[in-house]
Amino acid sequence: MNSAFKSLILLLGTTMTAMLPGAAWSQTARSYISIVGSSTVYPFATVVAEQFGGTRRFRTPKVEATGSGGGIKLFCSGIGVKYPDIANSSRAIKPAELRDCAAHGVKDVVEVKIGYDGIVLAESVAAPGLKLGLRDVYLALAKQVPDPTGKQALVANTYKTWKDVNPQLPATVIEVLGPPPTSGTRDAFVELAMEGGCESFPWIKAIKEKDEDRFRQICHTIREDGRFIEAGENDNLIVQKLKANAKAVGIFGYSFLEENSDSVKGSLIDGVAPTFENISSGKYPVSRPLFFYVKKAHIGSIPGISEYLQEFTSLKAMGEEGYLADRGLVPLPAAEYKAVSERVRQLVVMPIPG
């Protein structure tokens, strides 16, 4: 028994000494791309990363969902293998962040706009067609709405028909099919449409400066009395239900509207139709551009970055019929796509604001 334990201790000891050089080895090289940032871009970046790793002779990049702000902060911490190469973001990088980058030696940031996150409210083609404002959307779907008598107070939402919300709308019952809270589409819808409508009330907008949490609670909470129906993660299902029910309105990503244009049509929002041109030009209010940022200094020292850029900006990924469009990305219009892929090819660096 004694010798059994002795050999066990010996074994542990030798393995540990064998491990020590590994532990002492500080990082001098990295053979994979490290990506951090937005959880909105995460589903697209991971698909590209997997395609890239599966079809090319490089290792699959590592993608961390840290949120846009957290990702850019990590990205801007410095140059070298221990810092990420790419930061995904669901908003453009701020001048302050670029200055922070430059202060840490990251002076050559290449911006890549990958497309848009567009969310549509759609109805069956048999329906007469709604012309909504963001304010109408907010009033129809929020859990609490401003008192209709004009007082600056919130009351429970009792609007039953679209006409109750806005006299110019038809007297059809409000019945909206939308994604559950776990969905990114829901997040974007709440942030862009609900909040946009919410801010049209000056006194609610004033709350935003004072108490951000309260503001979010007012504007982001969707009613739970059955007017808004959570229809599952799959946007296809919503499309199916819209076909069967001409009175219902569905909320989903733009790509599904495009694919099912024979059975559903998009509602006008603030007078703008959700068309390809309007979304990509930014006229359609419920859309936002998505980006990622690359450190030019890392190209060459980390293998595969330029090939990853190539894969991401290729037509088969980012193009109008690419696999990212299947996952719900609104692709860039042809002219902008061309400009972006040209800038990526030449690796045009962003100027540092003074």
């Binding site: 334990f5 698909v47 997997e50 090319r56 002779r57 290792r59």
Partner: protein, 441 residues
């Protein structure tokens, strides 16, 4: 007699009958209290068992279907003109070729009536996007296959997989067939009737890393990540913990300094694990410059967390060795160190190992500290060592539970089953070590 304190002095002398009556009454009360207590105990055990059964029932009920996966048999023609038009058999060319064309062509052969673009798209969507990866692997492993035809079983898309499972079990799982067009359903029914699609054992689940396609996602990457992490933790926390325990128990003289160390070790064992994650981020990643997401850093952080547990368990094991053993050794002329290493340590080691394994089991289930050091990430490649980026099993469960694709529900539960199996093995090892080597006196 104490019970009678309230009575007046005159009744202090009780008759034998009265004493007897009072004792009987109190005896009945005591028996009742004991029965009640046993009943409470039984109730809490039953409640615990019921919750355990519900937990395991849900996990297994949700997860068992993930161990099987739908496959379609396709006759792939490895067309050399498509894959390698130059004929150079250059691995660089072979690795970037468009293998999806081969899959599409094979599908068209099976369903020849498809012509329009929309129909083709619907047809191609039935097969997993990952089918091309396995074709690529086939060709890379054996370029000689070019120009030949081979019948291969390729994974179906995860939604088709759900449809197939619902179909074979005779239910329509939440209207899954509503997700397909009438055309697609027609093709699927036909392929099923031709025995072209079937459920097979899901090997990918045990051999692959993470993936965005549920049909390709596996736990091997996370399992290896967890393994490397625990290896680092064991190799560091066990020797350090045992050395610290021996010093504190056998060598250190009692002083205020030893008391401070002791109190701190006990406190550290109760510190929430996320705090160790923050510490790891600040020290190992920011100061020592170790890479993010590496199992080495994860192992170091978990070492900090496990070390106090190992020290406490080891000290208890050393304390349990009877002083007579020490005295006998010293009495025949052994030095203090010889006494410890020749006599005390071998006798205390089973207890120390058990403590270490229980600590490791806790470390295996830990996910909070890993959040801080970048191990919550999308990592496809299976890690090859403690420096390559990886996730861990609990983190993988968290990531999948968060995924929108329906098929990940079953995979989440299946991954939980794998984790539980690991914990059972580790705890069983601890029990075995104890019963095998433990000495009683």
């Amino acid at each position: 007699m104490i019970a009678d304190d309230g009575d007046d002095g005159a009744s202090r002398q009780l008759s034998p009958e009265e004493t007897r009556r009072r004792v009987d009454a109190s005896l009945r009360r005591r028996y009742r209290a004991e029965r009640r207590f046993r009943y409470y105990g039984l109730c809490s055990v039953c409640l615990g068992v019921i919750f355990l059964v519900i937990l395991f029932g849900t996990i297994i009920g949700n997860g068992y279907s993930a161990f099987r996966q739908g496959f379609v048999q396709l006759d792939i023609h490895f067309d050399a003109d498509v894959i390698d038009p130059d004929g150079g058999r250059d691995p660089d060319v072979l690795s970037v070729a468009d293998y999806s064309l081969l899959v599409k062509a094979a599908l068209r052969e099976l369903v020849p009536e498809v012509t329009s673009r929309g129909e083709k798209r619907e047809l191609n969507n039935l097969v997993s996007a990952g089918a091309v990866f396995s074709l690529r692997e086939t060709v890379m492993a054996d370029p000689g296959i070019l120009g030949r035809k081979r019948s291969l079983w390729l994974p179906l898309n995860s939604e088709v997989d759900l449809w197939l499972k619902a179909k074979l079990s005779g239910t329509d799982g939440d209207g899954i067939s509503g997700r397909f067009s009438a055309r697609q359903l027609g093709w699927l029914e036909r392929l099923l009737a031709d025995d072209r699609i079937e459920l097979q054992f899901n090997t990918a689940f045990f051999t692959n890393g993470d993936s965005r396609e549920p049909e390709l996602a596996g736990v091997w990457g996370a399992t290896k990540g967890s393994f490397f992490m625990l290896l680092v933790t064991l190799l560091l926390s066990f020797p350090l913990g045992v050395a610290a325990a021996i010093y504190l128990e056998e060598f250190a003289r009692r002083s205020w300094w030893v008391d401070v160390v002791e109190v701190n070790i006990n406190n550290l064992a109760a510190v929430p694990s996320i705090v160790f994650g923050l510490l790891g981020l600040a020290v190992f990643i920011n100061f020592f410059g170790l890479p993010r997401s590496a199992p080495l850093v994860g192992g170091l952080v978990l070492t900090l967390m496990t070390l106090p547990v190992v020290i406490i368990a080891s000290r208890a094991a050393i304390k349990a060795v009877p002083p007579s053993v020490r005295e006998a050794a010293l009495g025949i002329g052994a030095s203090q160190m010889q006494m410890v290493f020749h006599h005390v340590l071998p006798l205390a080691l089973p207890g120390m190992l058990t403590g270490a394994i229980i600590g490791m089991a806790r470390a295996l289930g830990e996910s909070a500290p890993l959040l801080m050091i970048g191990m919550v990430a999308f990592i496809v490649d299976v890690p090859s060592g403690p420096m390559s980026p990886s996730t861990a099993l609990p983190v993988q469960i968290y990531l999948w539970a968060d995924s929108p694709e329906r098929a990940f529900v079953a995979r989440t539960s299946a991954a939980i089953m794998v984790l539980l199996a690991f914990l059972l093995v580790m705890n069983a090892t601890a029990v075995w070590l104890r019963s095998r080597f433990e000495r009683r006196w």
